[in-house]
Symmetry: C2
Subunit: 129 residues, 2 copies
C-alpha cells in the first residue's frame, strides 16, 4: 500500500504519516523503488493514532499507548492510568477555558461596540495595576 491510499484510509495527511515515521511511531517497509510499503498493521496503527490524537492524547501518550497496545501481557491498569491522567489535564483545561470565557463574555457584553473610544475591555486589561 502506498502512502496515498494509507492517507485516504486512515484520514491522516501524507505529510503527517511521514512525520509519524520520522519520530518512530511506525516503521513501514520500503519497496524497491524507495516508496513506503505499508502493511495492514501500519494502517491499523495509524488509525489508532488518529483517534488517540483526536482525543487529545499527546504524541508521547500515543507512543506509550501503542507500546501497551502491542504488549499482549500489559495490565489494563497501565492504560487506564494514562487515560485518567489525560482526563485530569482535560478537566483543568476546561476549567481554565470556562473561566476565560466568563471573563471575556462579561467584557464583551459591557462594551458598547460603537464609534466612541471608551472601551471596557481595554479598560479592564489595563486597570489591574
Amino acid at each position: 500500500m502506498n502512502i496515498g491510499e494509507v492517507s485516504k484510509r486512515s484520514g491522516l495527511p501524507a505529510k503527517t504519516i511521514r512525520y509519524y515515521e520520522d519520530i518512530g511511531l511506525i516503521q513501514p517497509h520500503r519497496s524497491d523503488n524507495g516508496y513506503r510499503a505499508f502493511a495492514e498493521s501500519d494502517l491499523h496503527k495509524l488509525a489508532f493514532l488518529g483517534r488517540a490524537r483526536a482525543l487529545g492524547f499527546s504524541i508521547e501518550d500515543c507512543r506509550n499507548l501503542l507500546t501497551l497496545y502491542e504488549d499482549r501481557s500489559r495490565a489494563s491498569a497501565d492504560v487506564k492510568q494514562i487515560a485518567k491522567t489525560h482526563l485530569t489535564r482535560i478537566d483543568q483545561k476546561l476549567a481554565e477555558l470556562q473561566e476565560m470565557r466568563a471573563t471575556l463574555a462579561g467584557l464583551v457584553s459591557a462594551c458598547a461596540g460603537d464609534n466612541r473610544p471608551d472601551c471596557p475591555i481595554l479598560a479592564d486589561l489595563s486597570s489591574h495595576d
Copy 2:
C-alpha cells in the same frame, strides 16, 4: 527599572519579556551599561500583555489590542470585534474538549484497571476500522 524588577512586578519571566521585545511588542530603552531600562509605561504594557495572554488572546491579537489601546481615537467596536472573535474560538475549543472528555470518561469507567490485559480503552482506539 531593570528586567528583574519588571519581571517581579509584571509576573512575566525575564525570558518572556526579552522575547516580547524581540517580536516588537515593547521597546524598552537601554542604559549605558547595555541593560534594558524599563519605563512605567513598559511595565504597564507587559501587565496588559500578561492579562490578555491569560485570557487566551494570541500574540497577534495582543499586538492589535496594544495598538488600539494606544490609539486614543479608536472605536470600541474594533476592540469588541477582536474579543468576540476570540470568544467564538473559545466556545469551539470548549465544545471539542467537552466531547473529548465525555468519550474518555466513558472509556475510563469501562476499564477494569486491573492486572488483566483486557482493556476497553485500547479496544475502542483500535476498533473503528
